[in-house]
């Protein structure tokens, strides 16, 4: 397993070197953190936060004119522990200035084939709506709360029982996601605008987030965006997330004003993606759980 990981890292580096994408290193410990509603950061006694992904620092490099960059970085997320989760994990994250998310999906597919993943198989592009219609039986953009809840009498979402997206997430993680990407890997695209995270939103009816996720054998492997470059809109989303956290008495980390400042200076139009390296290794090696792909999983770390 150690050897398989080393070979995987070597292949990734060769792939990007051949394409002129620069490997970078950014700090793991930051004075700011993500305020994402569903991602919890580790706060470090003595000051600072462990990154939940290298996204903010890498975007600052893009703003500074780095050109295309990638890194294999440790990421830390509190409370994420399970068969396919470990609180510390490795992300392969890369950015392509001037590209949009559709071009980037082509490159994700090329990388996967280069790594021997799903070799010879064409990756399928499926919209969030199409996936729900096929595997949940309804249109996620119009279904009301009652319809979303109806199938789940045994589920108690507590304070978020009236949150449409929380129910959509439940459908995704229990019914839709596990059906995606077998045998052909699937790019899920055109997410609801309410799930845009850091992606651009394309106006329309309904407006759609220019975001994609890669699924292989029912497991989510990567998440990518046509990156939001609007500093004001970014600040507005951060502040809305902070307010959401405050209302639920959750930890409210300081929003990254270094990122906002860099965005104000100008983020080149770009697309970026983060891919879970440990999960990739787990699937490529046919392992039953993430822990088997790690040198020491969290309970033994």
């Amino acid at each position: 397993m150690l050897r398989a990981r080393a070979e995987l890292y070597g292949s990734i580096r060769a792939f990007f070197a051949a394409r002129g994408v620069l490997e970078v290193d950014t700090p793991v410990l930051s004075s700011h953190a993500t305020v994402d509603r569903h991602i919890e950061s580790f706060e470090v006694p003595g000051g600072g936060w462990l990154q939940t992904s290298p996204e903010f620092a890498m975007k600052r490099l893009l703003c500074a004119g780095s050109g295309p960059i990638f890194q294999i970085a440790p990421a830390f997320r509190r409370e994420e522990s399970g068969r396919h989760h470990n609180p510390e994990f490795r992300l392969l994250e890369w950015y392509r200035p001037t590209w949009d998310h559709t071009l980037l999906m082509d490159e994700v597919e090329a990388l996967a084939h280069h790594l021997g993943i799903a070799r010879g198989r064409r990756f399928v592009r499926l919209s969030y709506r199409e996936a729900f219609v096929a595997f949940a039986g309804f249109d996620p953009h119009v279904a009301d709360l009652t319809a979303l809840r109806a199938a789940w009498p045994q589920v108690d979402l507590g304070a978020d029982a009236d949150d449409r997206d929380a129910w959509l997430d439940l459908w995704m993680s229990h019914r839709v996601g596990p059906r995606l990407g077998d045998p052909d890997p699937v790019f899920l695209v055109d997410f609801p605008a309410s799930q845009a995270a850091l992606a651009r939103v394309r106006p329309g009816d309904p407006p759609l987030a220019e975001r994609f996720e890669l699924f292989w054998r029912g497991i989510e492997l990567a998440n990518g965006f046509h990156e939001l470059g609007d500093a004001q809109e970014q600040r507005r989303r951060f502040e809305a997330d902070q307010a959401w956290r405050r209302a639920r008495h959750r930890l409210v980390p300081p929003l990254d004003d270094n990122l906002i400042e860099a965005l104000q200076a100008g983020l080149p139009a770009s697309a970026g993606v983060a891919l879970g390296v440990d999960r990739l290794l787990m699937l490529a090696q046919g392992l039953p759980e993430l822990a088997a792909a790690l040198s020491f999983d969290h309970p033994r770390a």
Binding site: D36, H38, I39, E79, E80, S81, G82, R83, H85, W152, Q154, V155, D156, L157, G158, A159, D160, D163, D165, A166, L168, D169, L170, M172, S173, H174, G177, Q195, A197, E213, E220, N223
Partner: protein, 189 residues
């Protein structure tokens, strides 16, 4: 009352759900990368043994059930209650039919049973895994049969009925697995 959060619910943790005591059997965490995490938790009723699945938002919690398991010696039954004694403190308790249930079929006195208390009251009784009991009634077997292919019913001194091989006779002591209710072998002699 102490509570336990979804990420602390391990197999065996005893919780209160809708006022009833359950033991955690399995706990599966799921989360879309950017979305709401949930835990799907299999729980076994400590009253009925029935297993069901509930899904909670990750980080939400259940109250811990006030559950205690004590090894106690079975003394006697008065017909309505079964009486047990804690051999360490000599404290005696009585358990009703709903708590004793099937355990009554396997105990005749002096056995050490596991008594599960919920809020200080006996909730269930688990007899020892193996019981040695005398057959009080069974049809005479057919001579020559030693394997006991089909077997025959035998009534034991406690009233329990088990299937025994044809060669096993009335008055003999047999060993029974109380978890399955199956005959294991003849004992003693």
């Amino acid at each position: 009352m102490a509570s336990v959060s979804t990420n602390e619910m391990k197999s065996g943790t005893k919780v209160l759900v809708d006022g009833e005591p359950y033991a955690i059997v399995d706990n599966e965490y799921r989360k879309p990368g950017k979305g709401q995490a949930t835990n799907s938790i299999k729980i076994r009723s400590l009253k009925t043994g029935r297993v069901l699945e509930k899904t909670l938002k990750s980080g939400d919690s259940w109250e811990l059930a006030d559950i205690e398991e004590v090894d106690m010696q079975y003394l006697y039954s008065d017909g309505e209650f079964w009486h047990f004694m804690n051999p360490a403190t000599f404290e005696q308790i009585q358990a009703g039919k709903t708590a004793v249930e099937d355990a009554a079929k396997w105990i005749k006195g002096e056995e050490t049973c596991k008594v599960l208390f919920f809020n200080g009251l006996p909730l269930s009784i688990t007899p020892p895994n193996f019981a040695l009991l005398t057959i009080t009634e069974t049809d005479p077997g057919v001579r020559g049969d030693t394997s006991g292919g089909g077997g025959k019913p035998a009534t034991l001194e406690t009233g329990a009925v088990v299937r025994v091989p044809l060669f096993v006779q009335q008055g003999e002591v047999i060993k029974v697995d109380t978890r399955t209710g199956e005959y294991l072998n003849r004992a003693g002699k």
